[in-house]
Amino acid sequence: MLIPVAAAISLALSAAVDAVALPLFLDTTGTILATALGGPVVGISTGVVTSAVNSLRNPTFWPFVAVQVIVALYAWMAARAGLFRSFKTAVPAGFGLGVIAAITSTPISYLVFGCTTTGGIALTTALGKALGLPPLGACFFGSFLADFGDKAVTFALVTSVLHGLPRRTAARFPWALRAIRAA
């Protein structure tokens, strides 16, 4: 039951982002949270479901399902290492994920969509081209600008949630206690 709820969290958070008008996606929040709570299989399943349901709104999300899988695996390693124990460890881990996510999404964005996945990324890619970067470099530049801060904020948000879990709920998810080094 965690999988649909976590996937729905990823898709519904855009409403909160709209309210504060920040250039963030937070579309991997559910994947990272589900991984920290239920392990890699739950996390990967959440990522796949998130991409599938998101594709019903905008089909261009589907090819990026590979990024969701990478995010879940990275979050699993971060949870095992206890990197969700504080913002000081979570935010740098999120920056690391931002780089990995950009490296993963760049070839998909370049080969499948010619770097036109979303308006924001297309514009930053155009900026990279204007700065003299080669096409693939400009595409990475656009993806990097989109992912770097987004994943750090996502990791910080998941850390807040894990630390804010009521004891009774946290007790049902032993991996969550390990992720925040409370067990």
Binding site: A8, I9, L13, L56, P59, T116, L157, G164
Partner: protein, 225 residues
């Protein structure tokens, strides 16, 4: 999940056939050389979208990609990638319009998929609008308590945390309640369910699905030779 409308025309096809068509068209658009390949598949996909009264949605979804492609690429590349993206968008928009989720769930259960696996998609679809509405209520409540979503980036990030954390915690709180509700309805791993009205899956359609897959493989082999 709501009652499905009585299917008409192409929508009468088995859900797996509809998904096969929606998957094969973008695959062929990428495999067959441009622009003729992409133009043909885009024409078919847009025709399907018209048949499901989803033409406008397909066009409005695909149009921004053409603009951004023109911004980033020359005209031949824009046309080549644009037709492929249009095929992909129109195929998905068509299948979403033509295939009600309950019908897909019935087909998955009838094909032997776990009922809980089929339920995951329907549950996510139904949970998103509920959580979005709740996000709006949380935003209103936090504003009443003096939260300002304006200001510098740090202030906005604090506001985001004040909105997102209660939303996520409340959603997680419901996991137990939903799990209990599902268990009482025998939606547990390994349980078999009998679909009430499974969509008919004729031999012709099964052959058609295999033919679509074979066409994609043949086109790929021809392209790679």
């Amino acid at each position: 999940m709501g009652a499905a409308r009585h299917p008409r025309g192409l929508t009468r096809l088995h859900p797996f056939t509809l998904l096969s068509i929606a998957g094969a068209l973008p695959a062929l658009a990428w495999i067959v050389p441009s622009p003729s390949g992409g133009l043909s598949t885009a024409a078919v996909a847009l025709g399907l979208a018209i048949s499901a009264r989803a033409f406008r949605t397909a066009i409005f979804t695909a149009a921004p990609f053409w603009l951004f492609l023109l911004l980033l690429h020359d005209v031949p590349t824009t046309i080549a990638i644009g037709f492929r993206i249009t095929t992909m968008v129109a195929s998905f928009v068509w299948v979403v319009a033509a295939l009600p989720p309950p019908r897909l769930v019935e087909a998955m259960v009838a094909a032997g998929w776990s009922a809980s696996a089929a339920y995951v998609f329907a549950a996510t679809l139904s949970a998103v609008p509920v959580l979005r509405a709740r996000a709006g209520r949380i935003a209103d409540a936090q504003r009443c308590r003096g939260l300002s979503p304006r200001g510098g980036p740090v202030q906005r990030l604090r506001a985001l945390r004040a909105l997102a954390v209660p939303l996520i915690l409340s959603a997680l709180h419901e996991v137990d309640e939903r799990a209990l509700a599902l268990e009482t309805r025998r939606l547990v791993p390994g349980a078999r369910r009998t679909p009430l009205s499974p969509p008919s899956d004729h031999a012709v359609e099964r052959v058609m699905r295999w033919a679509l897959a074979a066409a994609c493989v043949a086109a790929l082999a021809w392209r790679l030779r």
